[in-house]
Structure formats: C-alpha cells, structure tokens
C-alpha cells in the first residue's frame, strides 16, 4: 500500500529535525505493526540478551530497560542506553516501519472480520510479548503481574471517582475483602493449611475453581459496597468520601480482630494461581466489561448523574439505583483485583490495605485521567513503573512521585488522558 506522508507546509518540513521526521515516518504503523515489532525485540532479547549484556559489561540483562541499574550505578549509563537502543528501540522501529506495508494490509483485512476476532489476534500478540519478556526473570514476571492487577484496580476506582464523580476512599477496603474472601475459599477447599486444616478437594482441581474464588472475592467486595452505598447515597456531595473512609478503617480493624483468618498477622500460603495467563485474561476481561459498562446506557446515566443529578433525575434516570449499581460494580472489580493480588503475593495482612495503598491507587487514577479507560491503563502502568524504577532511590522515591503528581494535577487537573473514549476500532485500525 502506498503510504502518503501528509506534508503540512514546506517551511515546517525543511526545519523539521531528525526526530520529527522519524516520528512522521512511524505514524503509518498500525497497532499490529507495533506489536510485531515489540515481539521481535523481546525475542531478540531472549535469544542474545545475555551475550549482549556481557559484551556491554552489564551484570545481567537489565530488568526494567536499565533504568533501575542506572540509578544504582550511574557509570553504566552508556552501556544500558546502548543495550536499550540495540535490543528495543532499533528493532522495534525497524520492524514496525518495514512491516508497515503488510501490517496495514492485515489491519484492513482484520477490519472486515468481526471485531472480537481482531481483538483476540491483538491480545494474543500482546500476550506473546509479555510471555517472552517475562521469561527473563521472576522479578519482571512479578512486576508485570502486579501492574496488570493495578490496571484492574485503577479501572474499578475510575468507575466511581471518574465516571460517577464521587470521591471514594474505600478501595483498599474492597480489595482487602476480595483478597480475604477468595483466600478463605481457596485455602478452605484446596490447601492443607494451619488455619483451616486439611483440604476438602484435591489441589489439582484448584485452578479450575480460581475464577469462582475471584467471583466470590468480588461478590464480598460488592456486598461491602452495599454497606457503604445505603447510607451514603441519600445525600449528594462529599458524603461518600467520609463514609467510605470510615468503611476502610472498619474493614481493616475488623480483619485484625478476626482470629480465624489470621488477625493482624495476616493470612498466608495461598496457592500460586495468579499466573501470567490468568492475570492477563483477568485484566482483558476487566477492561472489556468495564469499557462496555461505561459506554452502555447505564454508563451514560452515570455521567448524567455526575454532571447534574437533578437534571438526570428529570430525564428519568433512576439516580439512586444507578449510583448503587455503579458503586457495587466498581467494588466488585476491586475485589477481583484483590483476589488476584492475594494469589500473587501469597500473603495478605490487613496492614497492607491501608492509607498507603489508598494514596497509591488515587495517584494512579488521577495521574492517568478521570472518566477514561485508556487513562486508567496509562495511570496504573506509569505509576507502577515509576515506582519500580525509582526503587533504588529508596525514600526519595516518595518525594519524586508526589512531585510528579502535583505537577500533573496543576497542569492537567483531570489527569493525562481524561474524558476520552476507549475506541478499540480506532486503536486497532489501519493507518492509511
């Protein structure tokens, strides 16, 4: 396919530097092309990464694009940069650009088939990328999984804080409910354990019941949400913020006082079922359902309630029911994320679902952008990544991240990609 580069004006074109020209030539690459490029890059890293790392005097393959390494040992900056250039930037750019012709044709072909098939193809590629990338180290694997869990959590809180426009502080509480409910289910049925004794079912059956455990976790969180919602949706305003804050403290304190589930020491020994495919599938389904929810009539009603509740009521929106459903829906997904989290870190304590986690979740959703699925993904991925990357700085990390967030809030008060639809057709479409 002949690709035409739109030329705005000659003078601008003449003054365009090296980078803008590269940017313009890469603008023709569709999502499919990028995925294939990244796949090539991670395969290259998988095959020659170790050798290249040795050649560049790097201790091992840099886990997160060399950033952590550079912060620890600044002298390795040239090597790390070269590694990232050789392994990631060059192959991705080259493959994506050179394959742009046929990937565009493929993207056109995929536009003709049903959208779910096209999405599945892209998701399959994305999964392949993640799978190969996380082969390198367990650390990467865990980072990738925790990021995907964070995406789910951020999306779920965006339904409430972004789409509904209330300020909910109880998400750590919902996550705790989900984590504990699903853990109780799996430990009770499938695991020989000091809290509940012998397993009732053989452990080999377990992974098939993992979705049920997650749904139980989500349902527990949704029930908790009902406790918050009934008193707080009688009035409008900041009421939910306080009730949900109190609820978070209540959940934490209640779990600390229930000795059969470990009390303040927490609950450990969950089976390691949050594997990469499971978490990936969970995240994909979560994005799909939440995106459908916010684009449905219900989602539109939710936006109407946020913008003007009285007007929405006049337009026959059942505001109370809408808010309740949305709140429980958001809590459900927080619970599911909690279930994944519990089966990934495999030890949950009530202390970890506190103010600290609330601050992190709020940072993610407000950084990425309110009222936007893309924004949630961007926020969760970037804050988690920044947080991992800055780990060598120890406590200065918690000065830099808030600073970034304050700047984002001052210059883009609703977040980076706020109020934008997640248009899957446009994202996956060909760039003609």
């Amino acid at each position: 396919m002949a690709t035409q580069i739109p030329q705005t004006s000659t003078s601008e074109h003449a003054s365009a530097g090296f980078l803008p020209r590269i940017g313009r030539s890469l603008a023709v690459v569709p999502a499919l092309g990028w995925l294939i490029g990244v796949l090539c890059a991670v395969i290259i890293e998988y095959v020659i990464g170790d050798t290249l790392a040795v050649m560049l005097y790097l201790p091992k393959v840099p886990a997160l694009f060399g950033t952590t390494l550079v912060l620890k040992e600044p002298l390795l900056f040239p090597s790390a940069l070269l590694f990232v250039l050789l392994v990631y930037a060059l192959p991705i750019g080259a493959v994506a650009r050179m394959s742009a012709g046929w990937t565009n044709r493929a993207a056109v072909a995929l536009e003709r088939v049903p959208i779910w098939l096209s999405v599945l193809v892209h998701l399959g590629l994305l999964y392949a990328v993640l799978h190969v990338w996380t082969e390198a180290s367990d650390y990467r694997l865990q980072v990738a999984k925790l990021i995907m869990i964070a995406v789910m959590l951020t999306l779920s809180i965006n339904v409430i804080n972004g789409y509904m426009g209330e300020f909910s502080c109880s998400h750590p509480g919902f996550m705790a409910l989900g984590a504990y409910a699903s853990s109780v289910f799996t430990l009770l049925l499938f695991k020989q354990d000091r809290l509940f004794g012998a397993a009732l079912l053989p452990e080999s059956l377990g992974p098939y019941f993992f979705p049920i455990a997650l749904v139980i976790g989500g349902a527990a969180a949704a029930l908790g949400a009902l406790v918050v919602a009934i008193p707080s949706f009688r009035t409008r305003g900041d009421y939910l913020a306080i009730i949900s804050l109190a609820f978070m403290f209540i959940v934490k304190s209640a779990i600390e006082n229930i000795e059969p589930i470990g009390g303040p020491r927490g609950m450990g020994g969950q089976p390691h079922w949050s594997t990469l495919p499971a978490v990936f599938a969970g995240m994909a389904i979560c994005i799909w359902i939440i995106n459908n929810f916010v684009r449905s009539t219900m989602g539109k009603a939710l936006n109407a309630v946020r913008d003007n509740e009285i007007a929405a009521d006049a337009m026959t929106v059942n505001t109370r029911r809408t808010k309740m459903v949305a709140f429980m829906f958001g809590a459900f997904w927080a619970g599911v994320a909690g279930g994944f989290y519990a089966h990934e870190v495999r030890h949950v304590t009530p202390g970890s679902f506190g103010i600290q986690m609330l601050a992190e979740v709020l940072a993610m959703v407000y950084f990425g952008g309110l009222n936007s699925v893309v924004g949630s993904i961007v926020g969760a991925v970037s804050i988690s990544m920044i947080s991992e990357i800055l780990k060598p700085l120890q406590l200065y990390k918690w000065i830099i991240i808030p600073l970034i967030l304050i700047l984002v809030m001052i210059f883009r008060p609703t977040g980076l990609v706020a109020f934008r639809d997640f248009d899957i057709k446009r994202i996956l479409g060909a760039r003609r």
């Binding site: 008193p231 009035t235 601050a359 000065i399 808030p402 008060p413």
Partner: protein, 307 residues
C-alpha cells in the same frame, strides 16, 4: 467511679488533640469546600517544629545560664511554633491549592495528599530514621483527688486546647477578619465581589488551621514524647472524620466531635479489648452519619459541587 472519672480525664486529653486538628479541616472546608488532606502532616511538621523550637530554647537558656520557668518556655514554644507552622500552611495553600482553585475539587485533594506524603518522606530524608523525644518542658506533678490520678500536664493540655478554641471562636465571631471568613464560607464565589479577596482569606484560613495543628502537636508531644514522621496520618484522618461528624464547616461542631471521638475511643478501650477500638469507633460514626448526614451542626450546602 474513680475509674470512670480517670477515663473521663484521659478522654478529654485525647479528645483535645482530635478537636484541635479537626478545627483546621473544618475551617478549610468551610471556606474552600475542599478537604485539606495535608493537614495531618502539617500537624506532624508542627510537632517537629515545636520540638526544634523547644530544644533550641532549652539550649539557649542553658547557654546563657538563665533559669527560664517552664511555663514561659512552653508559651514561647507554642507561640513560635504556631507562627512557623502557619507559614507552612500558607505555603501549602499557595503551592498545592491555589493553582487548582478552578480545577475539580478532587484534584486539589490529591495535591494535598501528595504534599502530605512529601512532608512525611522529606522529614524522613532530612532527619533520618532515628526517633526524637520531645523535651520535657515542665515537671510532671501528679495529683490524687479521691483516687483519681491526674497530672498537671493533662490539665494543661485540656486547658490550652480549650483556650485556643475559645480564642478562635472569638476571632471568628468578633473581628472583621472573622466576619470576612464567615462570609466567605457562605459563598466563596460572590463574596469576592464585595471586596474581600479569597487570596487573603484562604491563606489566612490555612495559617490559622496550621497554627492550631502546631499547638495540638506540641501538646501531643508533651503527652506522648516519641516523635515519628508518620504520626500525622492516623491522627489526621481520624480528626478529619471528626470534622465531618461535627458538621462540615462548623467550628463548634468540629471541637465537640473531636472530644466525642476521644470519648468513644477511650471508653471503647475501657469496655472491650483495645484492638476493637477503631472498629467500634468507626461503626458508631457510620451510624451517626447514617441518621444525621450533615453531622451535628452542619447544614446542607447548596453550592454547586464541582466533580
């Protein structure tokens, strides 16, 4: 009976901290209609500033071989620390809240939260992880009245807290500045048209709130001398709940609810195991708010809420 009275005294002391911090939340809320989530950490910083001032004053007195009486030292510490912390409050307002006055209120809450985190970790970065002890400014004297034990510090804490609250009440109801603040809390969009600048009133609110938090911090340091950069989190959030319980924007309500929260917590710990304290305290608050959604003295705000 003696046991009961003993706990009443403890609850009064514990409640004074909540009340003093809750006042700051309540004042900012009444003017700007937003939650100042930095306030707990301003309280923490105020305590550290008080610690620094007190240590410096003690060192100065020793160096010049004055025999400064304890009460004078305390008064000086409180006044200087209140002044310094109010500057911090103004800076927080200028940096974190003023640029976001037109933004959704939740964004301002986020900047507040983030400034709070920066204060915590900034403190940790500057002073290190070692714990400091608040200098014992006045000698502890224990009185025994019919089996009820109380120290002069407890009386002092409750007394100073009440004094500050009365002073605040007088300021708000008797002075022109207080009148401007009350007007602003009535409608912060129209009152600026009458010649009262929000850019004066808002920093002033932050300054007064922070000063009260600093006073609360010094009193707290007298009762519980071990300082910790994260001490403001739990106390701050609990006082925030108290401020809401009192009725958003109501000074009297915030003070009363602060004391009430102190009473609930102390008496729960008296009857139940102390681990149930938070659980029962918050459940009671949840119940109260279910039946009185606007708190004790709040009224339904008609102002258009932005997000």
């Amino acid at each position: 009976m003696a046991f009961f009275l003993q706990n009443v005294i403890n609850a009064l002391q514990w409640g004074s901290f909540y009340a003093l911090i809750a006042l700051g939340y309540s004042m900012v809320y009444s003017i700007l209609m937003l939650f100042n989530f930095t306030h707990g950490d301003i309280f923490m910083t105020g305590t550290y500033i008080g610690f620094g001032v007190a240590t410096a004053l003690v060192a100065l007195a020793t160096a010049l071989s004055w025999s400064m009486p304890g009460w004078l030292l305390l008064v000086l510490t409180i006044i200087i620390a209140m002044f310094l912390t109010s500057i911090l409050g103004v800076v927080v307002e200028r940096v974190g809240y003023r640029p976001l006055r037109e933004a959704p209120r939740a964004s301002a809450a986020i900047t507040g939260l983030m400034i709070g985190i920066m204060l915590e970790y900034g403190n940790l970065a500057i002073l290190g992880t070692q714990r400091y002890n608040f200098p014992s400014i006045i000698e502890t004297v224990t009185y025994d009245v019919g089996g009820v034990f109380f120290t002069n510090k407890k009386i002092l804490i409750v007394g100073v807290a009440l004094l500050l609250m009365i002073a605040l009440h007088q300021f708000i109801h008797k002075t022109r500045w207080g009148m401007a603040m009350r007007a602003m809390s009535y409608d912060f969009q129209v009152v600026p048209l009458m010649g009262v600048s929000l850019n004066v009133i808002a920093p002033m609110t932050f300054a007064i709130g922070s000063a009260l938090a600093a006073a609360g911090g010094i009193l707290y340091g007298m009762a519980y001398p071990v300082l910790d950069p994260f001490m403001g989190i739990l106390l701050g959030w609990k006082s925030f709940v108290a401020a809401i319980l009192g009725g958003r924007g109501s000074i009297l309500g915030a003070a009363l609810a602060g004391f009430l929260l102190g009473f609930i917590e102390i008496f729960t710990a008296m009857v139940f195991p102390s681990t149930f304290r938070d659980l029962i305290a918050y459940s009671i608050i949840l119940l109260i708010l279910t039946f009185r959604p606007y708190g004790f003295f709040g009224q339904a705000h008609s102002a258009q809420l932005r997000l």
